[in-house]
């Protein structure tokens, strides 16, 4: 990703002669990305979130090396939750495809389904927390527990943030809002959900393997 960015920056500056004045013409004026600003902002935010999760994971891997670390046995329920989150992503992709191809009237079921599945995931995570607590595995019992609660909690908070946008898009859809606007915000949601699914898979994989 960084290489692409650098390459793009190089392209902007290579062979240009900034000191030469030139008339503005359509050819010389190119937007940096043929994208909507909200998409650029979302992409930038995903970079921030990636940095955030990557830093916690590097802390995880450093902390793991120390003597008091006892690996946590993750609740089996997490597999179900993972499946539900995958389905939520699929539902969003389906809704998005409908919205983009202009069939906005048919998006309601997909949008609802995506929301319900996501809520189900969050509830599932809560139950997993309770299962751990019930078996005496508290957040303070061991650093691996602390990281488990921290990572799942922060991931869930990110999803809740996404649910806010989902709720707005849903309200707009129900009120018969502007089709293009609705489609745009569903597109952004879909990207965000895929991203959080990816983050979850990485987190889950790491926690399972350690």
């Amino acid at each position: 990703m960084l290489a692409t960015l650098l390459g793009w920056l190089l392209k902007q500056s290579f062979n240009t002669q900034p000191w030469v004045a030139e008339a503005v013409d359509e050819a010389s004026y190119q937007a940096p990305f043929n994208a909507r600003p909200k998409l650029v902002a979302l992409t930038t935010f995903l970079a921030v979130a990636t940095s955030f999760f990557a830093l916690i994971l590097s802390a995880y891997s450093l902390r793991m090396e120390l003597g008091d670390w006892i690996p946590l046995t993750e609740p089996q329920l997490l597999w179900v939750n993972t499946g539900v989150l995958v389905l939520a992503s699929v539902a969003f992709q389906w809704t998005r495809n409908l919205a983009v191809s202009g069939r906005t009237s048919q998006i309601k079921p997909g949008l609802f389904l995506a929301g319900v599945l996501t809520v189900a995931f969050l509830v599932g995570q809560l139950i997993a927390w309770q299962q751990l607590n019930a078996s005496g595995q508290y957040m303070t019992s061991n650093p691996s527990n602390a990281f488990f609660f921290l990572l799942t909690g922060i991931h869930a908070l990110h999803i809740l943030g996404g649910m806010y946008v989902w709720a707005r898009a849903t309200i707009k859809t129900l009120n018969g809002g502007d089709a293009v606007e609705v489609s745009h915000s569903i597109e952004l949601c879909t990207i965000y959900w895929h991203f959080l699914l990816l983050v979850w898979l990485v987190l889950f994989g790491l926690m399972l393997s350690t």
Partner: protein, 587 residues
């Protein structure tokens, strides 16, 4: 779908002018008002931090004299001074203040891309400042853990503010990071997507480049601080052991197991080092524009300047452990970080040479902003050179806990950026307010500040070599120090108080100018960049009246041969001046 610049889209022109006082000046979504709100708040807390430093200096210069300064609040002064200056003043002022004001105007846009988010960013920042200020008044007072907040001591009894201060500090930082992220997304998106027609990336003024890259650094680095703040909060509140080792504190076992304080240091400095450049890069950019404008000469090596900014930004992420040499590390690690640290000197030196070469044979106007810009070159070279010493492990070890380090980082990221802040305020003041300031008063302010700060920090280098330890409330058993060290300390304190008092001149000038200052010319410095070409001064909501500007040239067409005036604004069409002639080419 073909691309339509945001600024060209119809709905942008509909930007409704805010009607009431509240929407115009309080809940404003106008980037210029938000910039002033940001700057005002930042300068307000900056003054508090300045007073705190004066209190510290009183104790150091005249120990056993002031009964109201005890060791506990001395450490609180240190901590809050550092934290406020670095984060709540400089970061907020450069990015929230100048970033907000300059990005849309210099890029030729009507506003930030997400004005509502921009407004939210300021109010959340204000919330973080309020939380920070509340910590002065809670039981136990603000935290005294040092601005780096190293565990374990930061959250153990014995450190001032361990009851509430540290919680509020960490909470305030988390809120600040949320505010910064909202602002940062806006700055990046605006630079990428909302530039006017003809404003290619390589025509952007260096101020925008510096702010842009600094914002990216902030967006990627602040999460590290957020992570460490969250983990430390958990260690403190529910006794997890992310950072806290198994430890007995004052005979009590707080219940931690084998956490790693070094882990905190890694996370903190992974944020902390880029933070230096979050403050420095906007200063680099702004100073380039000030030098070029007031020397009536194109910036030397524009493309190199841009690439140096990018290179410094990239390198700043792989040098963090040079703050941790004394924490102990594998020698190969130390070697790696010493090497990367010294490599940063290369792009930085390129910038310094280019600034000096910009002045070479320039038609230098020693106006107030130019004085500050030139002074920056002095202080920055000075602080940069001592950085070469400290970047080497073997030299850093003996010097790390002495006043040499205090002198180094105050020269390089205290005095230098602050000089640029003043230069920038004087430079853009006529545009921001529509009024001129008093030139004589400004020059007095400059000379007293510049010479005053030198008389504070130059002797500190010597104190450091002599071995005067930093962070100490009182010197205690330090027989190896000559008597004169204390005399020097007293003189430093007098200089510090003098410089602090001198800042009153600045505020007098500000208030005089706002009330009685003569009306400013729209472009008093004959500058080329777009913000000086607005139809109104100060620019109205929407900045450009009905038509957006078009950019036809770079920002540095000064003293172009064959052209009558010694500057050509960026929006002057190409055929007005000879096209493609050998003007301004890097020699």
């Amino acid at each position: 779908m073909g691309y339509v610049a945001i600024a060209d889209r119809d709905h942008e022109i509909e930007h409704h002018d805010p009607q009431t006082f509240i929407t115009k000046y309080v809940w404003s979504q106008d980037h210029k008002v938000i910039a002033i709100q940001y700057a005002g708040t930042a300068i307000f807390v900056g003054v508090i931090a300045l007073i705190l430093s004066a209190m510290m200096r009183l104790q150091l210069g005249f120990p056993d004299t002031f009964s109201f300064i005890n060791p506990e609040n001395y450490y609180q002064f240190i901590t809050m001074h550092g934290m406020i200056m670095v984060i709540y003043l400089l970061t907020a002022l450069f990015l929230g203040g100048f970033g907000n004001y300059l990005i849309p105007l210099m890029c030729g846009s009507r506003d930030m891309v997400f004005p509502y988010l921009n407004m939210l960013s300021y109010w959340v920042y204000l919330l973080s400042v309020i939380i920070l200020l509340i910590s002065f008044f809670v039981p136990g007072g603000s935290t005294g853990a040092g601005w780096t907040l190293y565990p374990p001591q930061a959250i153990l009894p014995g450190t001032p503010g361990v009851e509430w201060g540290i919680l509020l500090m960490l909470g305030s930082l988390a809120v600040f990071i949320v505010a910064f992220t909202m602002g940062g997304l806006n700055y990046v998106t605006t630079v990428l997507q909302a530039r006017c027609r003809g404003m290619t990336l390589m025509r952007m003024p260096l101020s925008v480049w510096g702010i842009f890259i600094a914002t990216i650094l902030g967006l990627l680095a602040f999460p590290a601080l957020l992570v460490s703040a969250i983990m430390m909060l958990l260690d403190k509140t529910i006794a997890t052991s992310f950072f806290m080792p198994a430890i007995s504190s004052m005979g009590v076992d707080p219940g931690h197991t084998g956490g790693s304080p070094i882990l905190f240091q890694h996370l903190f400095w992974f944020f902390g080092h880029p933070e230096v450049y979050i403050v420095a890069l906007p200063a680099f950019g702004i100073v380039s524009d000030l030098l070029s404008t007031h020397a009536r000469k194109n910036i030397f090596g524009y493309r190199m300047m841009v690439w140096a900014i990018i290179a410094i930004g990239g390198l700043s992420f792989i040098v963090w452990a040079h703050h941790m040499y004394v924490s102990g590390m594998n020698p190969y690690f130390g070697f790696f970080f010493a090497t990367t640290t010294l490599i940063i000197a290369v792009p930085t030196a390129i910038k310094v040479y280019n600034w000096v070469l910009t002045l070479w044979e320039g038609n230098i106007h020693l106006r107030v902003p130019m004085l500050f810009a030139i002074a920056f070159i002095f202080t920055f070279i000075h602080g940069g050179l001592t950085g070469l010493f400290l970047g080497n492990v073997t030299i850093d070890l003996p010097l790390s806990d002495t006043y040499f380090v205090v002198a180094h980082f105050h020269m390089v990221m205290g005095v230098s950026p602050v000089l640029v802040v003043f230069g920038a305020i004087y430079h853009w003041w006529p545009k921001i307010t529509g009024r001129m300031y008093n030139e004589t008063l400004g020059k007095w302010h400059f000379w007293m500040t510049f010479l005053g700060t030198y008389s504070i920090y130059l002797p500190m280098h010597y104190l450091g070599f002599a071995g005067v330890p930093r962070r100490y409330f009182a010197m205690g058993n330090t027989d190896f120090l000559p008597e004169s060290a204390q005399t020097l300390n007293a003189s430093i304190t007098l200089s510090a108080l003098f410089v602090a008092a001198t800042q009153i001149l600045f505020f007098v000038n500000v208030f005089w100018s706002l009330r009685k200052g003569p009306k400013a010319d729209p472009n008093p410095w004959d500058a080329t960049t777009l913000e000086w070409q607005t139809p109104d001064t100060p620019p109205k909501h929407g900045n450009w009246g009905h038509d957006l500007p078009e950019c036809h040239r770079w920002a540095y067409d000064y003293s172009v041969p064959g052209y009558e005036d010694d500057f050509i604004p960026q929006n002057v069409p190409a055929d007005v001046a000879p096209v493609g002639r050998d003007h301004g080419v890097e020699h």
